[in-house]
């Protein structure tokens, strides 16, 4: 054991200090400008919000085990699903991949010492904390029951809950997104290492770039919307409430003008992670690099033009509906391009079945279903029947959880050795990945059928003939819950007892695998010069595979 550790230490040449050991006081964390430390603080906070949102989700599934509203009375149920949505979307899904993985990896992947604006990066973390704290305070005071969509005039005139406090929390949190997006864009433009051309960027960076564009352009609109909501609520100016001269549909336009692109803020970074996983674990250059890169940009642009597909039954004109339905169908094309390219990448690869790759393969299946059911909901004739039912709930969970959360978990497992320098238990990792996949499908597939049967969403009670499918769903949620708790245990355990990972445990060519694990504060001891293409697995990538094989043979004896 000792020799093994010794060899790995020698192999990786662990420097005396890495970003984790460079300063151990609380102050050295709270006032850090190191993007990696900020990422770790985001990781902890985001995980806490995910757990809180998960507890709400469990309450929802338990209530829906039986048709009448018995476990929770309907007022409580309304708050529970609202708060599940708000915490998961604004405080987990949106920041998760960009703020945790993007923060940690984007500078390393392009060969930079840090983000372009390190103080702004710390500021966005504090803004996120302040917005989050205010929201949590409002939830503890009594919560909010408007649904995460805050539709007017219910949210402005009728709800007696903490609408404005939660709205302010989301408003503040939005600036965190804007600053992070701005920082990423500036960094990618100005901080790339010598030789790191745009078309040598890892696709994860392209995806972060596209996401940042959406963050910068979309988030101000939700801020404006919340501001208008506050003006109406406090100053009685008629903006959304028809009884004082406003228009409730205007709110829906403004809300979805942000919140539809926000869906792409959530899924694009996940697609970036999957591109990394599929290509690297197939030990093969990604198929159609440019097509995947530009499809991210295409999704970001078209994502701004399809908000009206949330409003097909809201009383919007039939012609507006036709245009939005058409554009929604067009967005299917870049998503399909990605799907086909990922599949083609595996062809004639040398595929390694580690935990992250299991997540990536799971993503392909779940995102496929999520994307295809999006076509159902973009087709106007069908959406009249399906909108506001469990079909929609199932669809967006397939995209958000089956897509984004699975990609996030895959990414956390993939870069865990880099972030912590330790290896987790591969056995438990695989078990957990499979439980998540099975539990997820059992939870959400029955909801497609429930939706077509007409079960409306946001219902605390439902007709008896729908119970069997709801029991399946709740049973699946229990499996999913176990699958999601397991990583908390074995990842934490790996921090103490995990095997040292080495700098490049899988011999991958990306820049992040060419520095030590964990990386030093300045990321690289000397600024790297990039002479290889992205996902370059040929001999020109500068990695000494023969030497790695020799060491591998020694360590496994």
């Amino acid at each position: 054991m000792q020799t093994q550790d010794g060899i790995i230490a020698e192999q990786s040449g662990i420097p005396k200090q890495n970003y984790l050991t460079n300063g151990t006081t609380l102050k050295s964390w709270l006032l850090t400008k190191d993007h990696k430390r900020i990422a770790i603080m985001y990781l902890i906070t985001v995980s806490l919000f995910f757990m809180a949102g998960g507890i709400y989700a469990s309450a929802i599934r338990l209530e829906l085990l039986t048709p009448p509203s018995d476990l929770l009375e309907s007022g409580t149920y309304n708050k529970v699903f609202t708060q599940h949505g708000i915490l998961m979307i604004f405080f987990f899904l949106i920041p998760s991949i960009p703020a945790v993985l993007g923060n940690f990896l984007l500078p390393i992947m392009i060969g930079a010492k840090d983000l372009a604006l390190p103080r702004i990066n710390l500021l966005s973390l504090y803004i996120y904390w302040i917005g989050g704290a205010l929201t949590v305070w409002a939830l503890l005071q009594g919560g909010v029951d408007t649904g995460w969509t805050f539709y007017t005039p219910y949210s402005t005139t009728f709800s007696n809950t903490y609408v404005m406090a939660v709205g302010l929390g989301i408003f503040i949190n939005g600036f965190s997104s804007i600053l992070t997006g701005l920082n990423f864009i500036v960094t990618v433009h100005t901080m790339r290492a010598p030789g790191m051309t745009w078309f040598r960027l890892p696709l994860f960076v392209w995806a972060q770039y596209a996401t940042s564009l959406v963050m910068i352009l979309g988030t101000p609109v939700i801020a404006i919307t919340i501001l208008l909501l506050a003006i109406e609520r406090f100053a009685q100016v008629g903006i959304f409430d028809p009884s004082i001269g406003g228009d409730p549909i205007l709110f829906q336009h403004l809300f979805w003008f942000y919140s539809h692109p926000a869906v792409y803020i959530m899924i694009l970074p996940g697609m970036g992670v999957i591109s990394e996983l599929i290509s690297n674990f197939s030990r093969k250059k990604i198929f159609g690099y440019e097509f995947i890169a530009f499809s991210s940009i295409a999704i970001a642009v078209f994502g701004f033009l399809v908000w009206g597909h949330h409003m097909f039954v809201s009383g919007q004109s039939i012609y507006a509906g036709l245009v939005f339905s058409f554009l929604t169908m067009v967005v299917a094309v870049p998503s399909a391009i990605k799907m086909f390219n990922w599949t083609a990448t595996m062809y004639k690869g040398s595929i390694l079945f580690e935990t992250p790759m299991l997540y990536a393969i799971g993503f392909l299946g779940l995102f496929l279903i999520g994307g295809l059911t999006g076509l159902f909901l973009g087709s106007m004739g069908l959406v009249v029947h399906l909108t506001d039912t469990y079909f929609v709930v199932a669809h967006f969970h397939y995209v958000m959880v089956g897509g984004q959360v699975i990609a996030y978990l895959g990414g956390i497992h993939y870069w865990w050795p880099k972030m912590t320098g330790r290896m987790y238990s591969e056995f438990w990792g695989k078990i957990s990945a499979m439980l998540v996949f099975i539990g997820f499908n059992l939870t959400f597939f029955p909801q497609f059928i429930l939706g077509y049967l007409g079960m409306p969403r946001r219902y605390a009670s439902y007709p008896e003939e729908m119970q069997v499918l709801n029991i399946f769903s709740t049973a699946g949620a229990s499996v999913l819950g176990v699958g999601l708790i397991m990583p908390v245990v074995y990842l934490t355990q790996s921090l103490i007892a995990g095997k040292p990972a080495g700098d490049n445990p899988w011999m991958f060519p990306g820049l992040e695998w060419r520095t030590s694990s964990p990386p030093p504060t300045e990321n690289f001891e000397v600024t790297p010069v990039v002479t290889w293409e992205a996902y370059e697995f040929s001999d020109e990538n500068g990695l000494d595979i023969d030497e790695a094989r020799r060491r591998q043979a020694v360590t496994t004896v």
Partner: protein, 360 residues
């Protein structure tokens, strides 16, 4: 498509003329989904097994991409998605275009109930009785927040928006008792806001109409408001000397406004002119009409709209069979009416329960 006896239902009952259009679209999309999913899943599994790592750190083949494949798998999804778009657009057009000869029903949503009034005056709460084989058009609004009138068996729904009229139409094809849901979140008792739509044979429907208290019809109620309670008649009636704009024979026509614009007189315009009379003034008139905002309820507004429409001869009597005299010459309707059916009980004719689970 019958789902009565299956353990877990897969499709809701098909009980309107448009239900099978929606189901056909659904089946088409399922087939497309399967056609995409199977090759991709098979390919992923085949590659995963065939090309698994044979030697430590052995690299995969040097393949970077293929323009031909990229073009193919961009073009194919585009073409398929366009078929979905077109199919959906055609079905949608039929769903949202109410036929002219439909039987009129007024619906007002409020937290947390549906208030329904028939053209013949009968009122219902959280229930809607309609005859089979008649086209029914709902004119809907709400007193408070957004709601959504959803009947899965008819595969249709529409939001109900404060300050606006929205419309929903369907032609029931099968007697029975069908779920009515509120599908747009509306607060505390959202999941309790609903009930049933009862589709009845024409004869049973006529009996139902005869057996329930009718009171004033919307038009009568509107005339009462117009002539007595609100005093509209003091300006808007009386012939050439009247002070207000003429209301006879204007519905559906374009009228000129002060400022040169024109507007088509529809339900929405009548409603707005009562609540916000200064906004769109007819050419040749002064902005002297006071607002009636706060003095009329949504139900009274619907009655006023119905009365003012009747001044232009726009009416759609609710009773079929004996009183279908407005030229509703729908072949199917006539046949269904004349045949009738014995033994359909208007109060519990759910084919779900009646056929297979009598004791539920």
């Amino acid at each position: 498509m019958q789902t009565d006896s299956s353990w877990v239902p897969i499709l809701p009952e098909q009980a309107s003329t448009l239900a099978w259009h929606v189901d056909a679209l659904y089946v088409y999309l399922i087939l497309i989904s399967v056609a995409f999913t199977i090759p991709i899943v098979v390919a992923v599994f085949a590659f995963a097994i065939k090309y698994r790592e044979r030697e430590k750190f052995a690299n995969g083949a040097e393949i970077h991409g293929s323009m031909v494949l990229e073009a193919g798998w961009s073009f194919l999804p585009f073409v398929i998605s366009m078929t979905i778009f077109l199919g959906g657009a055609i079905v949608y057009y039929n769903q949202v275009t109410p036929p002219d000869d439909a039987m009129q029903v007024y619906v007002v949503g409020k937290q947390w109930m549906w208030k329904v009034q028939h053209e013949t005056g009968q009122r219902e709460i959280n229930e809607l009785h309609v005859p089979v084989g008649r086209r029914v058009k709902l004119t809907m609004t709400t007193e408070d927040v957004l709601h959504d009138f959803s009947v899965p068996a008819f595969r249709t729904k529409a939001d109900v928006v404060p300050g606006r009229y929205t419309y929903l139409w369907f032609e029931p094809t099968k007697p029975g008792k069908y779920h009515l849901f509120c599908a747009e979140y509306c607060g505390l008792n959202h999941s309790g806001m609903g009930g049933y739509v009862y589709v009845m044979e024409q004869r049973d429907f006529d009996n139902w109409l005869a057996g329930s208290v009718s009171g004033q019809t919307p038009i009568e109620q509107g005339r009462d408001l117009f002539e007595n309670k609100l005093g509209c008649a003091s300006c808007h009636a009386g012939g050439p000397a009247q002070r207000g704009a003429k209301l006879e024979n204007i519905y559906g026509k374009d009228i000129k406004l002060v400022g040169g614009q024109a507007v088509t007189v529809n339900d929405e315009y009548i409603r707005n002119s009562i609540l916000n009379p200064g906004a769109q003034i007819v050419e040749g008139f002064q902005p002297i009409m006071p607002t009636f905002k706060g003095q009329v309820t949504e139900e009274q507004l619907l009655a006023l709209v119905a009365y003012i429409k009747s001044l232009s001869g726009v009416t759609t009597p609710a009773t079929g069979g004996t009183t279908t005299t407005t030229g509703t010459t729908n072949g199917n309707t006539g046949q269904t009416n004349s045949i009738g059916t014995q033994g359909s009980n208007p109060n519990a004719p759910s084919s779900n329960t009646a056929n297979t689970q009598p004791n539920r």
